[in-house]
């Protein structure tokens, strides 16, 4: 039982992180029907900018005196950086192909992914980069169950981000405009909504969330690597498909499920297969219910 609860806690932590990444896939798909293969790279970039900033703060001893401010600053700056990176990528690699076939943009996304990942390798090296170690050590122990402070921080942060996103998308004027753009770009233009601006904003938000997830993963596993975007990227993509691509609530749910399945699969079946479970789910969803849990039908995209 203790083991089960421990796994549950670990699963929620990981699932939340996947949910954050999955949102970027699903939102971008919602507004322009593009699977942004480069999305995982924003996550990786986030992990790196995070480690650079935190190491800088730690090196100055600021981590000891003002840990929360340093952490908050690192999250904000990293998310901002990745948001701008994503808007740049969108302008350069996707905007010019907007009226071309979808395949063109898809190939462009693959190219961007390879480019960004190599840029990260060339500038940061091929070896693991450790996160400053002394952050958030310790935790609460309930018998055999341990909840680390880090897990609490990650889950809280995830909840804050997910709730903020929901408010933004479902309660604000910008969110309305985003959903309108996803539903009908011509009509949006007829009521003065410039779709390019909204699309840019969507990329920025998605990348910002992925960047936050990047720092969380870095903190959680203790280090980052240039190719860290690949596997979590595909898992988060699976989560988005599982939830119904284009559907925001679906992506959150899908992320949580994939995280749980991975942790429980690793815990009860085999740790060596932990990366396989997400793909089994992806294949099963595509086979049995390609529209996902929340999707209505494939053309019925929603943000």
């Amino acid at each position: 039982m203790d083991y089960f609860i421990q796994q549950l806690i670990n699963g929620i932590t990981l699932g939340g992180i996947y949910a954050l990444i999955a949102l970027g896939y699903t939102m971008v798909y919602g507004v322009i029907q593009l699977i942004n293969f480069a999305h995982g790279e924003f996550f990786a970039a986030g992990g790196y900018v995070g480690v650079i900033l935190l190491s800088y703060f730690a090196g100055r001893g600021l981590m000891e005196t003002h840990p929360w401010i340093c952490l908050g600053m690192s999250f904000m700056l990293t998310m901002g950086y990745c948001a701008f990176l994503a808007m740049g990528v969108e302008k350069v690699a996707y905007l010019p192909l907007r009226n071309q076939s979808r395949l063109a943009a898809l190939l462009s996304a693959l190219g961007v992914s390879i480019f960004l990942s190599n840029a990260l390798m060339l500038t940061q090296g091929v070896f693991d980069k450790p996160y400053p170690g002394e952050l958030f050590n310790g935790g609460w122990e309930f018998g055999l169950v341990t909840i680390s402070y880090l897990q609490v921080m990650i889950v809280t942060m995830t909840i804050v981000l997910l709730v903020s996103l929901n408010i933004l998308v479902f309660k604000t004027k910008m969110g309305m405009a985003m959903r309108a753009t996803a539903q009908d770009k011509t009509m949006s233009a007829l009521v003065a909504i410039g779709s390019n601006r909204i699309i840019s904003l969507t990329f920025a938000i998605g990348a910002g969330l992925a960047a936050a997830a990047g720092i969380m993963v870095g903190l959680y596993y203790g280090s980052v690597r240039y190719d860290m975007g690949f596997v979590p990227g595909i898992k988060a993509f699976s989560a988005a498909v599982l939830g119904g691509i284009g559907n925001i609530t679906g992506a959150m749910l899908g992320g949580l499920i994939i995280g749980m399945v991975e942790i429980f699969g690793a815990g009860y079946i085999s740790g060596q297969y932990k990366d396989v479970f997400a793909f089994i789910i992806l294949i099963a969803v595509l086979y049995f219910k390609p529209t996902g849990i929340m999707g209505v039908n494939v053309d019925d995209t929603r943000v």
Partner: protein
């Protein structure tokens, strides 16, 4: 007469190799209701979409209030007072009635006025008030047409382009819609350019009309003259 508020000068446009408009010229004066009639595929909707910049004019000019607008981005035009209710109404199906109305005022910053205008819309179309939290896609055709018009009014248009507002609606609803159109024109002084397949209806509502055939204007006259014209009666009034 004064200067036209909207003018098309020899406008050509189309979809890739398909030339839909082959030199359309027309003028709409402030406060007028002008009708465009024509058969299926004549280019009526393309004319409105070209005015709104959704379809790019390949040749010629679209001039609004003395300014050439066919070089502007389409999303700029509603902010200048030019708005279209497109064919098929194009309600945002998964936004609520209220959200659809709110987005009509997307570019406006006057929050208090916007809320008042939404209330006005509910007074003009009480059914929309009753349905305000319902998704647009669940409304009936008539309700959607009302919402589409109300949404367009939220942009505070000076010139309103209407594409087949009677399409697929029961006669009694059509009557309601045309009463509203008349009110918008008379009470707010909004200029209206009306596209209709139902020529009889359109010419009764309008003071002047243009006849479009295969991308060109073939006739232009007062509504009364057009209604009396034997050719028009034969081709568009089903006689």
């Amino acid at each position: 007469m004064t200067d036209p508020i909207l003018e098309l000068k020899d406008v050509h446009s189309g979809y890739g190799s398909i030339k839909a408009l082959k030199g359309i010229s027309l003028r709409v004066y402030p406060g007028e209701v002008v009708a465009i009639i024509g058969a299926n595929g004549a280019g009526k909707s393309t004319t409105l979409m070209t005015i709104c910049g959704i379809v790019k004019a390949e040749r010629g000019q679209v001039i609004y209030k003395g300014q050439v607008i066919n070089t502007l981005l389409p999303e700029k035009l509603p902010t200048l007072g030019l708005c279209q209710v497109p064919e098929g109404r194009r309600i945002f199906p998964r936004l609520t009635v209220m959200e659809n109305l709110r987005l009509g005022a997307f570019y406006r910053k006057d929050t208090d006025e916007i809320l008042k205008d939404i209330q006005k819309a509910y007074e003009m179309f009480p059914i929309l008030g009753e349905r305000k939290n319902q998704e647009g896609g669940t409304l009936s055709g008539g309700e959607q047409q009302m919402l589409a018009i109300a949404r367009a009014l939220m942009t505070k248009p000076k010139v309103l382009l209407l594409d087949e507002p009677s399409l697929g609606l029961a006669p009694i609803i059509v009557q309601q819609i045309f009463n509203i159109i008349d009110r918008i024109n008379k009470e707010d002084g909004t200029t209206i350019l009306l596209v209709e397949q139902n020529a009889n209806l359109a010419l009764q509502a309008a003071t002047r009309g243009y006849v479009v055939e295969t991308g060109q204007i073939t006739l232009e006259d007062d509504s009364t003259s057009l209604l009396a014209n034997p050719k028009i009666r034969a081709a568009y009034l089903g006689e």
